[in-house]
């Protein structure tokens, strides 16, 4: 069973350049739990990086200093020695201008992580912002951790202190995501087959329960304009929800096995989903059409084989900031970098037992987690074509339906809808 089609010579595919590693400290006597690393995350403004080290610990490091360390001290960097070079947390000073490293003991196995910022990535959709007991300052940065027992703990990134404890899920909280508009709305996806919407500006009040999944929910993601939420789960489920009315918009059908990861493109025009059926699909979420397919097993498996245990499950997918590249992580011990307009990967990197990957906020680095450690690679980057830059500028403000009504030639409309 090949990882690439016969026409592709695997040896000709470029290998990605390693930037660095953050290795988990070895603790042979402390066996609170396994060394799985289910999640890695970058802060929306790129200031921090967090990952679950296993053993119920989450590590938070200031990203710029971390990157600097990699450049100064070479690629190998054991997490313990990293801490001696960075200022330790000071309980008095939660100053923003001195970012500190934090080690957080969450008290239970950590399954998901998400950063939330009260500074909107785009223009906020909520007009009415109320301040309640937690006087969130001008630029609050929070880290949400989803735990094995269904609890969600919210931490302040600058001080490392616990702020809120959200209790409602009855099963593992498998994924968490904040709305990118700075409203501090958090959505959690759980094995109890529901998603819950929490308002962290309102003391963590749970606003809504989204029901519809028949089985475990694996992941969720907001569109960049915060209007749509995608949730994916077992039994081939890919659902799109309207986040104004909290109703289901549509189901996307096509995968043959559990769908375990999803992410929107930065202009919101595309949605990538990764599944145990060995494929990553890229959809147009506005009209519910599948546009591209990225395979990890050749020849492509039959639906029955794809629907079972096939040793080639795709675990994670991430969209780059430039809207042109996707990274995927599969069980064949490889990370693949794809361009959305090419059928075969542009770069690969080796990784054993990888479970999660994510691009950094500026898209220059890919982080992937494995066994409590994190590995970083430089992403293939170039100046995008002016046509693609224009396409992103237009699609950020226009859904597919409106694009079709523009007074432009049909070839250009197809290009704008990513159908070429």
């Amino acid at each position: 069973m090949a990882s690439f089609p016969l026409s592709v010579n695997e040896k000709l595919i470029a290998r990605s350049r390693t930037i660095g590693e953050l290795l988990a400290p070895t603790s042979p006597f402390d066996k609170k739990c396994g060394r799985e690393n289910w999640t890695v995350a970058f802060a929306p403004d790129g200031s921090y990086f967090a990952w679950s080290q296993g053993h119920r610990i989450v590590k938070l490091v200031p990203w710029a200093q971390c990157l600097n360390n990699f450049l100064l001290h070479g690629t190998k960097n054991v997490a313990n020695s990293l801490s001696t070079r960075l200022p330790r947390q000071n309980s008095d000073s939660g100053q923003k201008n001195k970012p500190c490293e934090h080690i957080i003991d969450c008290g239970d196995i950590v399954w998901s992580l998400a950063f939330g910022s009260s500074v909107p990535e785009k223009q906020s959709r909520c007009v009415n912002i109320e301040w309640h007991r937690f006087k969130f300052g001008q630029d609050q940065l929070l880290l949400a951790t989803g735990l094995n027992n269904g609890r969600i703990k919210i931490w302040d990134v600058y001080t490392g202190k616990l702020l809120l404890n959200l209790m409602d899920h009855t099963e593992v909280v498998r994924d968490l995501t904040f709305a990118p508009d700075g409203s501090l709305i958090l959505v959690s996806a759980s094995r109890d087959k529901t998603l819950r919407v929490w308002d962290l500006k309102d003391d963590g009040n749970m606003m809504k329960v989204l029901r519809g999944h028949q089985n475990w929910v694996y992941a969720c993601a907001f569109s960049p304009d915060s209007s749509i939420l995608c949730s994916v789960g077992a039994s081939k489920a890919v659902f799109l929800w309207d986040m104004d009315k909290y109703s289901m918009i549509r189901k996307l059908e096509g995968h043959h096995n559990d769908v375990v990861a999803c992410e929107f493109s930065p202009d919101g025009a595309l949605l990538a989903t990764a599944s145990y059926d060995t494929r990553v699909y890229v959809w147009d979420p506005h009209i519910g059409v599948m546009l591209m397919e990225f395979g990890h097993l050749f020849p492509p498996p039959t639906p029955i084989f794809a629907g079972g245990a096939n040793d080639r499950w795709v675990r994670s997918v991430s969209f780059s900031h430039d809207g042109l590249h996707i990274a995927s992580l599969a069980d064949d011990k490889m990370v693949r970098f794809w361009r959305i307009d090419e059928e075969y990967p542009v770069q690969v990197a080796p990784l054993n037992n990888g479970l999660c990957c994510t691009f950094s906020t500026d898209g220059s680095v890919l982080a992937a987690g494995q066994d409590g450690s994190v590995y970083f690679w430089a992403t293939p980057r170039q100046v995008s074509s002016l046509q693609h830059l224009c396409r992103m500028a237009i699609r950020r403000v226009m859904p597919t339906g409106q694009v079709k009504n523009l007074p432009i030639p049909s070839k250009v409309v197809e290009f704008l809808c990513y159908q070429i």
Partner: protein
């Protein structure tokens, strides 16, 4: 400095792009090769005769070519953005420095897209 005079003659370094409303942009030939369309035009053995009505050739001898491209459909505020894109491309291709955001206001994006489509860049 003599490079600024290389507007005519054998070592042609610059060419002119003219917008639909009369603005002219002088731009280095190397920068302009980002555009697939212009690259075809600058080819010393032009096979594409249909594009000739966009080009004004002055002088008869090959050594005295001055090249101006008349972009009749592209207004100046769009063409200036295109030129800025060319500079950005040349600057950050094959460079290890961070590629900055190329800002495009949504209002000009459709027209800019048409120009980019025409110029194949």
């Amino acid at each position: 400095e003599e490079t600024y005079n290389k507007y005519e003659g054998p070592d042609l370094m610059y060419m002119k792009l003219a917008s639909s409303d009369g603005d002219e942009f002088t731009i280095k030939k190397d920068h302009v090769s980002t555009s697939g369309t212009i690259k075809m035009i600058l080819n010393p053995f032009p096979l594409i005769l249909t594009l000739l009505d966009f080009i004004v050739w002055t002088g008869t001898a090959a050594e005295n070519e001055r090249i101006e491209m008349n972009c009749r459909e592209i207004p100046s505020h769009i063409l200036s953005k295109v030129c800025r894109y060319f500079t950005c491309q040349v600057c950050y291709t094959n460079s290890s420095s961070e590629i900055p955001e190329f800002p495009i206001v949504p209002e000009i994006a459709p027209k800019l897209l048409m120009a980019a489509d025409f110029l194949d860049c």
